[in-house]
Amino acid sequence: MQTGFGRFATAFSLAILSLGFAQAQTLDTTTFVVMGEGLAAGMANFGLSSIVQNKSFPAQIAAQMKTAFPQPLIQGPGIGDVLGYAPLPVIAPKYPQDQVRIFPAQPDPNDEAPTLFVLNLSVPGMKLADSVSRRPVSPLIQRDSKQTAINLILGFPSLILNRDVPLWTQFEYAKAMMPTMVLVELGYFEALDAAVAQDPARIPDPAAFHATYSDIVKGLRVMQAQVIITTIPNPIDTAYFMPPPVAAAILKAQSSVLLQGYNIAETDYVTRNGLNVISKQLALRNIQPLPPGSIMTAAAASDIQRRVQALNTEIANVARESGALVYDLNSFFHRVHSSGVTVGTTKLTADYLGGFYSLDGYYPGSTGHALIANDILMFLNQSYGQSFPPLDVVSILKGDPMVQLNIGSGPLYSAP
């Protein structure tokens, strides 16, 4: 596990790195492109749909910067697989989902058409290696849900045009948009995937990660775009992984019930899936062995965190080599995990149902996205001498159902 000093040292070095470049660079927000995975796409609550897409932190940042940011808005209930659950089969849209991609409203509905290009190129499930290799493939709807998501985001409407048009990878798409400013949020999916599967080996080799990341950032810097790359949050900081006391509080149970009933060590973590299974068992007053993936051991968590940190070191190296700025998203998530965030009179925490994360446990809700957006806006203001106004998070919070969730009242569950 990374020590406090180690985390401080990483944050300090990233801050120094950022300031060093900031002195020499200016920001042009004309064409703001985002390359990311589910987090930057606005995935939340088990799918990618317009509900949170419109509130995603890149969209909020673009609005504050007053720059165009067309997104591939998806009708509810949305698309994309949810880590920790078995992938759902891809099915053709049916009511109430009809065209899947939302067309911007026009005075005459017959004129409605999709945007020819989007600038939020983030795709749920997109890995770093995918961003330079996966491209849209006809037909539009595929059995592979990730390919379908790529088609709907990067390949629409190209795949249905009666023209021989290019089908770009995420990286090619970003370059084709002639960006002036690019935010890269990649690598988080790999970390989440490894953490949820409790298989640290799924986290990419740092050298290979560096090579691919470097190709992307240098390719964008050659175009003289300002590139902001985000560090990878530590999945263990998210609500998906709960220390036993936190899980016990949500379950309205005493910690000892979890620790002794399920033989969980105090340093282990109960996962979102584990929480669901335990809640059912406690409701039935029937404690049974938990299925795989319910508990993450401290050792596995430490391994995940160490590997994520290794990737973040490579991200910092890439930034230094290519003149990009690093926004430390990892530190932001950790701050939320450590001390929560107070918005108005409401205290949000990184606990499950704590208000920052959505129901999937690892992607934020609307308020969480707004908080990320504000932190990045502040970073841009400091780095580039800008004065982008912050978002009114209080008003966003009022419309965010994730903040309205409460732990039920009643007595604590004490013993089966």
Binding site: Q25, T26, D28, K66, A68, A105, L161, D164, M177
Partner: protein, 479 residues
């Protein structure tokens, strides 16, 4: 000998080279002797270049004379943009506006012949106006932000105004002459610049396409994104004009050279251009597969154009004296009414009215709004011995280019020129040379309206000018 030399000179003028940049586009150094004296020659006018400086001077040149002047200019033009687009790569030494090759030759030819004690005829070919700018320090395939920032205002310009001027001088009194020259002026203009500026004309296209490409997005924000997806094109406009002009002169010369006084007026010329406009766009720009390869070629078709512009009139007054230690001292004041050069209207023949796909406007007006210009010239000439003369001079040239028009076409500033020269007389031939070091006052431009053209910044220029002349004299025997 004379016949053979003349044949050579005619051959030389059959292939004239583009002239260099002058004050805005005036050229003063059209005679090696006069240039050695800082061009203070209106009241001297004692060689063939009098046809240019003061045609009345040919009346004081008995016999027959042929003179060829060659001028070589090495212009060093540098531009340091003050507000380049974020990320723009500015070379450490700024952007160079020097033409290639660096040496620009300018040639003049003068012939005079005394027909009678009262009348002298002359003929001159010279280029009083010329321009050669070249800021194409990049290749089209280069990344946009490594290119010269002011390319939207211009990348290359050529102006050549050739004057073919027969001249007659008449003796008013034994010490004064008047002269009239009628000139046939052939002018060639070439302008090149980049088009579809993401912060300029490209935005117009972006606004038009905003609701098609990015429906539901704020039109202005969408237009800015679309403008960057367009290719950077080049427009080239070339045309020629043939116009009449005239030149008047008066010169009084004291028999012993104690006091000389000259006046000269060269007319303005309105050039009615006929030519063509062409446009070029690179392939493989992001929008091309979606809009089709023929969208832009159809929007900007090559076509015939017409246009007009006026070169200024010149008014000179000069005094000189050889009373001091056999040293000829001269002073000139000149005025050029460059306010005539207010704009250059260009009329396109293919417009939206004649072709729905076309986007070339009926008229595009290049506005410059020049101010009047003046020059102060001072020169001295001292015979070292009967065969060698030495000269020196100074020239101050006030730029007619107003702040908003300073850019790649006219990277102009006030100038200070310091000159030296000499003549070697040998038999019936004179060999003359001069050198001029021309300092340009550094000019910092900050015009809000030019921000999108990328022409605001520091202009730092310097020019070396070298010139030589060969003059052949033959006495005339009057019956």
């Amino acid at each position: 000998m004379l016949r053979r030399t003349f044949a050579l000179l005619v051959l030389f003028f059959a292939f004239p080279a583009p002239p260099s940049r002058g004050s805005a586009f005036s050229i003063w150094e059209l005679g090696a002797r006069s240039a050695g004296m800082g061009t203070a020659f209106t009241s001297v006018a004692s060689d063939g270049s009098a046809i240019y400086y003061n045609p009345a001077g040919i009346g004081f040149q008995p016999g027959t004379h042929m003179q060829m002047d060659g001028l070589v200019v090495v212009g060093l033009f540098r531009f340091f943009p003050s507000s380049p687009l974020p990320g723009t790569v500015v070379p450490p030494n700024g952007f160079s506006g020097s033409i290639r090759p660096h040496f620009i030759p300018v040639a003049s030819l003068y012939i005079t012949r005394e027909m009678s004690p009262k009348i002298t005829f002359g003929f001159g070919i010279f280029t009083p106006f010329g321009l050669a700018a070249n800021f194409t320090n990049f290749h089209d395939a280069d990344p946009a932000l490594t290119k010269f920032t002011g390319r939207w205002a211009g990348t290359r310009a050529h102006l050549e105004s050739y004057w073919f001027q027969p001249t007659a001088s008449y003796r008013l009194t034994p010490n004064s002459r008047i002269a009239l020259g009628i000139a046939y002026v052939h002018t060639h203009l070439f302008l090149e610049k980049s088009i579809l500026n993401p912060r300029g004309d490209g935005l117009e296209f972006g606004r038009e396409a905003a609701n098609t490409i990015f429906p539901g997005v704020d039109q202005e924000q969408a237009a800015r994104v679309i403008a960057r997806l367009l290719p950077e094109g080049r427009s080239r406009i070339a045309g020629t004009a043939n116009s009449p002009a005239f030149n008047l002169g008066y010169l009084y010369k004291h028999p012993e050279g104690k006091f000389n006084f000259g006046l000269m007026m060269r007319s303005a010329v309105t050039n009615h251009l006929s030519g063509s406009a062409s446009f070029a766009f690179p392939d493989n720009y992001p929008l091309e597969p979606f809009v089709g390869p023929d969208l832009l070629p159809k929007a900007f078709p090559s076509q015939a154009i017409k246009g007009s512009f006026t070169t200024p009139a010149t008014y000179s007054v000069g005094v000189s004296s050889a009373a001091l230690k056999k040293m000829l001292i001269s002073f000139d004041f000149r005025l050029q009414d460059y306010r005539r050069f207010a704009s250059v209207p260009l009329n396109f023949s293919v417009t939206k009215a004649t072709d729905p796909d076309a986007r070339t406007p009926a008229e595009q007006r290049l506005t410059f709004d020049f101010r009047n210009s003046y020059q102060l010239a001072f020169g001295i000439e001292k015979p070292l011995n009967p065969r060698i003369e030495l000269r020196a001079g100074y020239l101050f040239d006030r730029s007619p280019v107003v702040e908003k028009s300073v850019g790649p076409l006219f990277p102009d500033c006030n100038r200070h020129g310091f000159t030296v020269g000499s003549t070697w007389n040998s038999g019936n031939m004179e060999f003359t040379f001069f050198y001029e070091a021309m300092w340009f006052v550094e000019r910092n431009i900050n015009v809000a309206a030019n921000a999108n053209l990328g022409t605001n910044g520091d202009y730092e220029n310097f020019a070396h000018l070298f010139g030589m002349a060969l003059r052949i004299n033959r006495a005339t025997k009057h019956k």
